[in-house]
């Protein structure tokens, strides 16, 4: 979907930098996803307070080859932020 607003320049959507997440057809990481969602609803929808759960989800994906393996820093989890949670 592209937006045309009066008098503004047309900005087209960009492709995701690391490409597409392969689909989790077997629902292997659904549990971790639900835990993350619960954490979000408990913490006022702030992902910064749910870093452990989101890390679990990425770990689940990486283990099952649903995602390329990255270091935690590459996914934006620095040690400083870890101390915050």
């Amino acid at each position: 979907m592209t937006s045309y607003t009066l008098g503004q320049k047309y900005i087209s959507p960009t492709k995701p930098e690391r490409g597409v997440f392969p689909l989790d057809h077997e629902g292997e990481c659904k549990e971790t996803m639900l835990k993350y969602m619960l954490c979000l609803s408990r913490n006022d929808n702030k992902p910064s307070l749910c870093q452990a759960e989101s890390k679990d989800y990425f770990q689940c994906r990486m283990d099952r080859n649903l995602m390329k393996k990255h270091e935690w820093e590459d996914l934006g989890y620095s040690n400083e932020q870890q101390r915050k949670t």
Partner: protein, 288 residues
């Protein structure tokens, strides 16, 4: 460069084409010549002067003519150069936009190393005093697509520079496998430039079996430069809207009532339009 162009390319070409032209001494040129020569030289005896006068006049005439031709050639080569620049500006502008990401044009994201380096630098660029931005999630499945497609969370609050994970859920409600493609939209449109998606589920075909339900994650961050943008002062809400369409590959199945025995049929683009069945051409099973 213009002189080069005019002297070596245009001039021989034009002199060959206009060789038939005879230059007659015009009254104006004679007057110019006499005024010039009178200013330079004192009075001389008229007898020997005549030949010298003719020679000098011819020389002057040639110089004038050369001068005029040179000016004309210079001007025409300028015009041709400008025309060439106009044509060249299209790819040049494209290159410039891709390099600088000016005005929201697609930035050529580098390989994985540069992306990882960018994300690592994010922590240094964010500060704790950055305001929290609320990201709202909405979804629209297309009218022809029998999927339920909802965001798992209505909004999340993050700081710019923080990576965030969000989920959408899609379920194929029909009784045939469907291939869908998602695209997205960010509002306000100026914020789209700062919205960096690391990974998501858009722009690629996603196939769902009948009755299958799937969680689709979106992993993104907002560039910390978002705060310094003057046109985005005070903006604290960003809306992310995803839309799912059916992929062109299986769209024709929807038009044929989901009849899977027709799956091998390949339709012409005009036949996939709505109300195609009202057109005169019949849809034959073995057309390609």
């Amino acid at each position: 460069m213009n002189l080069l162009l005019s002297r070596h390319i245009l001039r021989p070409f034009l002199s060959k084409t206009f060789l038939h032209k005879h230059i007659q001494p015009s009254l104006l040129s004679i007057k110019q010549f006499s005024s010039v020569s009178n200013n330079n030289q004192p009075e001389k005896p008229p007898s020997s002067d005549k030949n010298k006068f003719e020679q000098e006049f011819k020389k002057f005439e040639r110089d004038e003519r050369n001068r005029r031709i040179n000016i004309a050639l210079y001007m025409s080569s300028m015009a041709i150069l400008m025309l060439g620049l106009t044509y060249a500006s299209v790819p040049l502008y494209k290159m410039f936009c891709e390099a600088t990401g000016f005005d929201g044009v697609i930035r050529k994201s580098g390989d994985d190393e540069t992306i990882s380096a960018n994300i690592r630098q994010l922590a240094q660029r964010t500060s704790k005093t950055d305001p929290m931005i609320r990201i709202h999630f909405t979804s629209t499945p297309s009218a022809l697509l029998p999927w339920t497609f909802e965001p798992e969370q209505h909004e999340i609050s993050i700081q710019p520079g923080e990576t965030a994970l969000a989920f959408y859920r899609a379920k194929n409600e029909s009784n045939r496998p469907i291939i869908g493609i998602a695209t997205y939209n960010v509002q306000p449109s100026q914020a789209a430039f700062y919205f960096n998606k690391i990974q998501c589920f858009c722009f690629e075909e996603q196939r769902l079996e009948p009755g299958e339900e799937i969680d689709m994650p979106v992993f993104f961050y907002i560039d910390p430069d978002f705060i310094q943008d003057p046109s985005l002062q005070g903006v604290r809400d960003i809306s992310l809207a995803y839309t799912f369409f059916e992929s062109k590959g299986t769209e024709h199945l929807a038009l044929m009532g989901g009849d899977q025995s027709m799956a091998h049929v390949r339709l012409k683009p005009s036949e996939t339009l709505p109300y195609a069945h009202r057109h005169k051409d019949k849809i034959l099973p073995n057309t390609s």
